[in-house]
Amino acid sequence: MKLTGAQILMEVLKEEGVDTIFGFPGGVIIDVFDELAKTDIKHILVRHEQGAVHAADGYARASGRVGVCLVTSGPGATNTVTGIATAYMDSIPLVIFTGQVPTQLIGNDAFQEVDIVGITRPCTKHNYLVKRTEDLAGIVKEAFIIAASGRPGPVLIDLPKDVSNTKITYKAPKKINLKSYKPTYNPNMNQLHKAVKLIKNARKPIIFAGGGVVLSGGSKELTELAHKTRIPVTCSLMGLGAFPGTDPLCLGMIGMHGTYRANMSSGDCDLIIAAGVRFDDRVTGKTDTFAPNAKIVHIDIDPTSIRKNIPVAVPVVGDCKITLGYLNRLLDKEALGDLETKRKKWLDQINQWKKTKPLEYKQKNIIKPQYVVEKLYELTKGEAIITTEVGQNQMWAAQYYHFKKPNRFITSGGLGCMGFGLPAAIGAQVAFPNKLVVDIAGDGSIQMNIQEMATAMQYSLPVKVVILNNQYLGMVRQWQELFYEKRYAATGMEHAPDFVKLAEAYGAIGLRATKPEEVEPVLIKGLASPKTVIMDFAVEREECVYPMVPAGAPITEMLLV
């Protein structure tokens, strides 16, 4: 059978079970779009290529499947870079196809030529320039394997125009054998025996769960471990939802804006069972004062995450779900004794921290951003898929929306990418057309990819945007207030558009609340609407996110309300 490169690509995408592609066309990629239109694969036309990658990312995080993007060469390709870096930092499986000028023109500074393989080398898990149509099918198959396996990540494939339109006799590729790529899924049992011993002897243990637990689908195993051993659980930002936020053993988030009890227990504990985390600086604070009394068991599928930032007593390389499963089976054979009594003192101490220093804010006759998130949580019963932008809105979402299940909190953790929330919400809504998807946004970051409102309208995606509007780039302003003597350099955002009118201009619904008593009615009306809605909440302008650990300080030294 003679097929063009573009036709071959469609064959492989169908084989991989791809049902949706987020993209934006251009000169050298027309052949591929032409073939795509003949298939059943749904194409979502975004308004900016960065939006395409974030949308594919949101789709992947919500559904657990590989997100796919298709863009053109040159600016189309460079516009994807921020999205790719976002996915890379948070280990999200994506395959990004970029058009490229014909192979004979590569290197000649041709129109819309850019070395996207060179540009994205440090922010992709792997990338390819396809030089011959004969190689295409095998490369695409490899890309999907690499993106989704081990520690997942984005893989980019650069497709020169002649590779897409050359006709060859197509044979489906044989089994793909990546000789040097073999992620370790199963843990070393000797290491797990050591972990069991530490768990048995620990008096003040905590579990620290991260994005790796969510990505591996290991929430059930994690919850079983916590309940079986009665060890309290704190989550990183990426790990929220891996353990039910409403469970009595849940400590909430750890880190720079973590809860008082989570940060204090990390300082006081004698054992940390860390799973699927990488001890990022926003979690540890000053590393040499982090968990000074604790032995650390560190489970991660990526060996480079272990001992990168923090010394570890028991390193365990393995998939979180599988490893926690094995750990549970080993613990089943152990006599753990009367855990109620054994843990009482430790859990009492934690409850004491919780009681004396809960998450709190001072209610006033002006809308508090935390109150909006609390109300949103109540009204949605914690069941919505929440995406966020980056900054204060993101931290309040993390603190006040208690996620009961994984894959419900979609946020740019590692890169901290403003403009992520709206396109990510669009992607999540495409994956789950019937679920409620809410983007918790700030007035600053929503403007970074606001053009994607048109995408939501075009495909009738009823995403809800909740803007916590303080007319500032709030998180930077907070740093300026606390550490720069209130010199608010370049953080004022007074010249924002009227978001209600803007929503209406896009054909969506715009709602606004300016007083606390309007918050609930606006949320009820907005959430109940079957359409795309922007809800603009005029919140206290100079509200700060607390607790806060100043950058570089020990994690137990928090500024509080």
Binding site: V117, R121, L178, K179, P303, T304, K308
Partner: protein, 162 residues
């Protein structure tokens, strides 16, 4: 922790861009490359990179893990601390005025190197050896006058157990 010289022997896919991935990994993460030598192995699909880096043990552990993470890296051997042979070759262009020629040739003889090019006022020497030998001959030739030098960087292999 104390920094130490580490020799890494890395087998990689012999493909365009692979060296750039490795160099990019080092520059992006702030590791240093002291010397680097690359060539294909007996298998034309595989290249061997021999690299010297100076780092403490925790960093070198990270470097090795990060290298393994690259899809095109097949195997990484850390040679430092094991039994291995290492060699480096240098071409040294040395000033050779008539009154110093005998002295230079004596050095060539002692160090078992070769004169590979002769001119009116220079010799070019080919020297092969380990780092100690390189340093020694360079120290002797320096006062005579070294015009130019080109070195291959160190290459190394495990000693097989007997």
């Amino acid at each position: 922790m104390t920094e130490q010289k580490h020799i890494l022997s890395i087998l990689v896919d012999n493909q365009p861009g692979v060296l750039s991935r490795i160099a990019g990994l080092f520059s992006g993460r702030g590791y240093n490359i002291e010397s680097l030598s690359v060539a294909a192995t007996m298998d034309p699909l595989v290249s061997r990179i021999t690299m010297i880096t100076i780092a403490d043990t925790q960093i070198v552990e990270q470097i090795i893990k990060q290298l393994h993470k690259l899809i095109n890296v097949i195997k990484v051997y850390a040679l430092t601390g094991t039994s291995y042979v290492q060699r480096e070759m240098a071409l040294i262009k040395v000033q050779a005025k008539p009154e110093r020629r005998a002295e230079i040739l004596r050095i060539v003889d002692i160090f078992r190197c070769k004169v590979v090019d002769v001119g009116q006022d220079h010799y070019t020497l080919e020297v092969t050896g380990d780092e100690g030998k390189m340093t020694a001959i360079l120290n002797l030739l320096k006062p005579i006058g070294i015009k130019e030098i080109a070195k291959t960087g160190i290459i190394a292999l495990f000693r097989e157990s007997k």
